[in-house]
């Protein structure tokens, strides 16, 4: 992957990552957290949101646009790669907080698909059925799996 991304931090257990989005709205702390959803096969949920500077909690109602959506997605992809280095090439599930955000993620994935596909299988949920990610299709959620080297 040859995309621009932010530098990032990791927790000891490599299940949570932090980076700062920089842009017209200032410096916004982003949190990426992986939590196991199921086994057979193993799937982890990728949760992603802005940390409220006052409470330290994730603010899922925040509407921030630092004009860096693709750089943010590239950084999230990097955290997925780092997570997989520690835990293996399991399925990673992701869904936006709202349908609108899911659509934004989908558009970013579509733009970056040629950079992502060499390293990851990418799937989308459409009417609760998984299919290989296609452009110009509206998905409800996504699943990625790092390819074996």
């Amino acid at each position: 992957m040859n995309l621009e991304r932010y530098p990032y931090y990791a927790t000891n257990d490599a299940q949570e990552y932090t980076f700062y989005s920089e842009g017209p709205r200032g410096s916004i702390k982003k949190i990426v957290k992986f939590v196991k959803v199921r086994d057979n096969p193993t799937v982890y949920n990728l949760g992603f949101g802005d940390e409220d500077p006052l409470t330290g909690m994730i603010d899922d109602l925040a509407i921030t646009d630092n004009k860096d959506r693709d750089r943010i997605l590239a950084t999230v992809a990097t955290t997925i790669n780092e997570f997989c280095d520690h835990y293996g090439n399991h399925y990673i599930y992701a869904e936006g907080n709202t349908p609108a955000k899911t659509r934004l993620y989908q558009m970013s994935i579509g733009r970056m698909l040629n950079e992502i596909k060499p390293n990851f299988e990418v799937y989308g949920f459409r009417e609760d059925v998984l299919e290989h990610f296609q452009l110009n299709v509206n998905y409800e959620a996504f699943l990625v799996k790092r390819k074996e080297k």
């Binding site: 990791a10 780092e82 299919e131």
Partner: protein, 53 residues
């Protein structure tokens, strides 16, 4: 945490700038709710048979 705001953007996959200890969001309702939503959607999905090519 080390200051990253002045660090240049990086390209490609790379290692974290630093390891920052334990998670502080294990009990955050946001992640708990996201997990429950994921469990519901994935409850009836069979891998990989249902993955269409």
């Amino acid at each position: 945490m080390p200051e990253t705001k002045k660090m240049p953007y990086q390209k490609g996959f790379g290692k974290p700038v630093a390891i920052i200890g334990e998670s502080s969001h294990d009990n955050d309702p946001f992640f708990i709710e996201k997990l429950e939503k994921a469990k519901k959607r994935l409850a009836n999905v069979t891998f990989p048979i249902e993955i269409k090519k």
